[in-house]
Every structure is written in C-alpha cells, then in structure tokens.
C-alpha cells in the first residue's frame, strides 16, 4: 500500500505541470438512503488535465458514480472541494455534460436532431439555424445522419448511446462526464463504441471523465486510470494507461496488475 502511494507521488504526471482543469481535493461524499447514511467516498484526490481521458475504475460500491455525480454538481461534498478551472463547481450545468448508462436518458418526445439541439437551445448557447447546423454536424460525426429525424424509441441501444454522446459533444463542454455509458450494451457493440469514442476523441481531444467497472474498458478508453477501493471509496492508485494499439502482452500485464491491486484484499460485502 505504502509503496503504491509512493509510486503515485513519483509519477511525473502528478508533479508540477499545467494547472489542472478539474481539481478534486479530499472529497468525502455521503448520501442518505431510507435507513442508512452511506459514506460513498472518503477523502478522494485527483486532478484531470485538459484532453485527459480520465477513468474512474473500481468494483461496485467504490463510489465512482457518486463521485461523477458530485463533479456534475448533483451532490455536495461533506468534506473537501471540487474545482473546475480554479473555481468551485456550482449546480448542474451544461459546462459539464453527462452521458448516462440508461437508454432512457434521451427525451422520447424529441427526434435525434431535437435531442442533440435541445441543450444547445435550452442553455441559450445557439439558436435557430446555427443550432440545427451544429447538431447535424455532430450527429454526422457519430454516424447517425440517416437517423436524424427518428424518434429515440426506433433506435437500438448502441445508437441511443451515440445520440447521448453526440448531445454531450455538441455542447463542447469543459468536460464530458460519462457514467458507464457502454455497460448496458452487448459485447460486440460495446467494443465498437469504445473504438468510435477514441476516434471521436482524436478529432477534437475533448476532456473526458469516464466511469467503468471493467478493467479492459478502462485500459482501452483511458489515458489515465484512477483505481478506487470500495466501502467507502478511497484512491488506491493512479496509473497511466497504454495508448490504443499497444501490444496485447503489455495490455494483459497491465490488466493483471490492476486486477491484483483491486482484489488484493478479499472483497467484503457490507451492504447486501
């Protein structure tokens, strides 16, 4: 454990560099269920730089989704602070667009085009023709130009997630928050979506904060991976991932390394 901490501190990316885009410092998050007060994360620190593909990885119960919601502004930390570009984050807003896991995140009463345009017009970013053009452009980039006038219920799960990603990208947010966006997809579609996300990222190099519980996904998607241990979520390690297209053996060894770190201690089932 101590060795890991030292490794993280010695990591060059953590040292003095450009000011972080997102700075999460000593954040403890708690939420109430009907019967319990649950501490989701305890004193979590991490910094996301511009154009990072930053992955929060951990088993269920490590508070990674709660952490993402706190960055989104849905939840106030009970301790510590979250800063975006130096300023404390406010309530949810379109500067931090979210992509959720659920397929029902699209507004069923709007077409694909309407869904992508809605945040643009609702936030007053763009209006009229400019909004339509922007939305069409992003829809084309996720490969759905033929479906622009379809209603969401006529789309497959993968296509719905593409629309959600397009909707997030159209706003050009400071950071795109993705909460296990591919977890409900079948394995083949999931693989394709991961590749497509990387390709989109190559185009504009937007900053992503991505939550997953899949180690291979974290390695494929992420440029940097934060490992969280469960009950309550605490930072276990912060690693650099390998670039896409790296030799399979290196990926396998990183995968094993992460696996061993996450499951070094037997997982206790506290709240089941």
């Amino acid at each position: 454990m101590a060795e890991l901490m030292r490794a993280a501190v010695n990591d060059p990316a953590v040292g003095a560099g450009p000011a972080p885009l997102l700075d999460v410092r000593g954040v403890t998050l708690q939420y109430k269920t009907k019967e319990y007060l649950v501490t989701a994360t305890y004193r979590v620190d991490f910094q996301v730089m511009r154009s990072d593909r930053f992955v929060l990885l951990g088993p269920s119960g490590c508070g990674k989704s709660t952490l993402l919601k706190a960055v989104g502004g849905y939840l106030q930390p009970v301790e510590g602070e979250i800063r975006m570009k130096g300023a404390a984050i406010g309530p949810p807003g379109p500067d931090r667009m979210m992509v959720f896991q659920e397929f029902d995140q699209l507004l069923p009463w709007r077409t694909v085009l309407g869904n992508v345009m809605f945040p643009l017009t609702a936030s007053g970013r763009l209006a009229g023709r400019a909004a339509v053009e922007k939305a069409r452009d992003v829809i084309a980039r996720v490969g759905l130009e033929k479906f622009a006038d379809n209603y969401p219920h006529t789309l497959s799960g993968g296509m719905k997630q593409r629309v959600a990603i397009a909707r997030g990208m159209a706003m050009e947010p400071d950071i795109l928050l993705m909460d296990e966006p591919f977890a409900s997809l079948d394995a083949l579609t999931r693989r394709k979506m991961q590749d497509d996300l990387l390709e989109l990222w190559e185009g504009t190099r937007f900053t992503v904060l991505f939550v997953t519980h899949s180690i291979p996904e974290a390695i494929r998607i992420g440029s940097r991976i934060l490992l969280l241990s469960p009950h309550p979520g605490q930072v276990k390690a912060e690693l650099n991932s390998v670039p896409p297209g790296t030799d399979g053996a290196i990926i396998a060894s990183l995968e094993r390394r992460i696996h061993d770190m996450l499951f070094a201690e037997p997982v206790e089932d506290a709240h089941t």
Partner: protein, 285 residues
C-alpha cells in the same frame, strides 16, 4: 479417442425461399383497422336494436332505431337539439378548462414541496370519492340556479382526476431524465414545462380523458336536476323535458347525442392527440 466434428461454411441461398416481404391482402389490411371492426359492431348493435324494437312494437317504451335517428335529425336541423348541445358543450368546456387550470396550479404546488405533495394527496383522497353531483345542492345555494352551479360541479369532477394523474405522472418520471433536465441548467417552471410535462404526458393524457368523461356525466346529471335557466337548458334538460312530454324518440335521440359526442371525443379527438404525441414518441403502444 476425442470426437472431432467437421466445420461448415455455407453461402446463403438466394431466391430459393418464397418471399422475404410481401404486402398483406386488402382483406387482411381492412381487418387490421380497429375502427372498421368497431364500426361493424356498431352496425350490428343498431340492427339488433331495430329488430327488438319492431318485435316489441311499443314506441312509448322503446322506439325503433330508425325512429330515434329520425328524431335525432329532426331535432338537430329543425328543432332545439342543436342549440341544447351547443349550450351543454359551452358549459362543459368552461368547466373543463377551469378544472385543468386549477389542477395545474395544484400539481405545481405539489411537486415544489413536500408539504404541497401532502396537501394534494390529502385533498384528492378526500374529494375524489365524493360524487360531484352530491355537491349540487350546495352549489345551488352558493351560485344560484344557473351556469355557475353547473360549472362548479364540473370543475370539481375534473380537478381531482386530472391532478391525481398528473401528479403520479410527475412522480414516475425517471431519475435519469430528471438529471438530464438539470444538466441542461433547467430550473423551476422551465424544468416543469420542458421536462416533467412531456415526460409525464401519458399519465396527463389519461387524466384528461378521465376528467372529460367525469365532466360529461356530471353535466348531463346536473342538467337533469335543473336544466333550465332563462329558457335555455342543455342536453340533459332536453332529455328531461321530452320525457315529461312523452316524446320518447326525442329522449332516445338525446341519449344518442350524449353517446355520439362521447364516442367522437374519445375516438377522434383524444385518439388524434395520442397518435400525434405519446404513440409517435413510443411512450405508449
């Protein structure tokens, strides 16, 4: 000795299978149209009515279908039926509109605070089971013998059904959609109007349909009790008046009008709204 199996790689057959897709025959398509089937049932019921009434041969108790239709057209184009219907519908629409506005205000209060929710739940559980017509005597004291009283009881019958359904619709909006709405920076009434109302629209529409049916029934019942005010009653009064004059075909024509208006509103107006909204959006099949 391990059992080994031969691998197979096949080319898909082309053209050997009959059809991939072929349009259904005209007969099948007609049978698939709901309104055609319903129309057939209506015609059958009409024939049954006609046959039974002829066999009974007692126009004072049960006039034939054709006599009713005749009375209907005579009343509509020559007699007072049309103006009666117009009077009824005007009162109905006023009451319906006021009821919806009240329900909207109540539901917005209900979703904005926990105390508001408690208020709505308590009021609906108190007043929803109370038949609107039971309030009529009280309404007569408060608003006098006129439209005011009828509008009051219609508002009462619409308000709770619409408020209850709208509120339960708001409550069932998924957490994801709520978070999406807040993510766009929508707050307050804009959030209600642009996220909650469309997301809850299937329930709201159900409430509107139930409210309409309640209002319509309440109106006819109220008019039967006292339809007349300054000489121009509504449809309920038309039925009552003709019963007193033993114009039984007219009574049936009045009842038929009530049914026809109900059918048209349910199957044309609300169906149209449904197919343009919740069906198109895939929120209801």
């Amino acid at each position: 000795m391990p059992y080994s199996r031969v691998e197979r790689v096949l080319e898909p057959a082309t053209g050997a299978y009959g059809v991939v897709e072929k349009p259904l025959s005209t007969g099948e398509r007609i049978a698939n149209m709901g309104w055609v089937r319903k129309l057939a049932i209506l015609i059958a019921l009409g024939l049954l009515w006609e046959g039974y009434a002829r066999w009974l041969n007692n126009p004072l108790l049960f006039p034939t279908f054709s006599a009713t239709i005749e009375a209907f057209f005579q009343g509509f184009f020559g007699g007072t039926l049309f103006s009666r219907v117009a009077t009824s519908l005007r009162v109905l629409l006023i009451g319906y509109a006021i009821g919806i506005v009240c329900a909207t205000v109540l539901t917005v209060i209900a979703i904005s605070s926990r105390l508001g929710t408690d208020l709505l739940e308590l009021l609906t559980s108190m007043f929803n089971p109370l038949p609107a017509i039971a309030l009529l005597p009280l309404a007569l004291i408060w608003f006098g013998l006129g439209y005011g009283s009828i509008v009051f009881v219609i508002v009462h019958s619409v308000l709770w059904a619409v408020a209850l359904n709208t509120h339960s619709g708001f409550l069932s909006v998924s957490n994801t959609l709520r978070m999406v709405g807040r993510n766009y920076g929508l707050r307050g009434l804009r959030y209600v109007a642009r996220i909650l109302i469309p997301a809850a629209f299937p329930s709201i529409l159900t409430g509107l349909k139930i409210g309409w049916a309640f209002a319509w029934r309440t109106l006819i019942a109220a008019e039967l009790v006292f339809g007349v005010s300054s000489g121009s009653g509504g449809l309920g009064w038309f039925i009552y008046e003709n019963k007193n004059q033993l114009e039984i075909p007219n009574v049936f024509a009045g009842l038929l009008t009530v049914i026809v208006i109900g059918l048209v509103v349910e199957n044309v107006v609300f169906r149209l709204v449904e197919s343009r909204t919740v069906r198109k959006w895939g929120m209801q099949s």
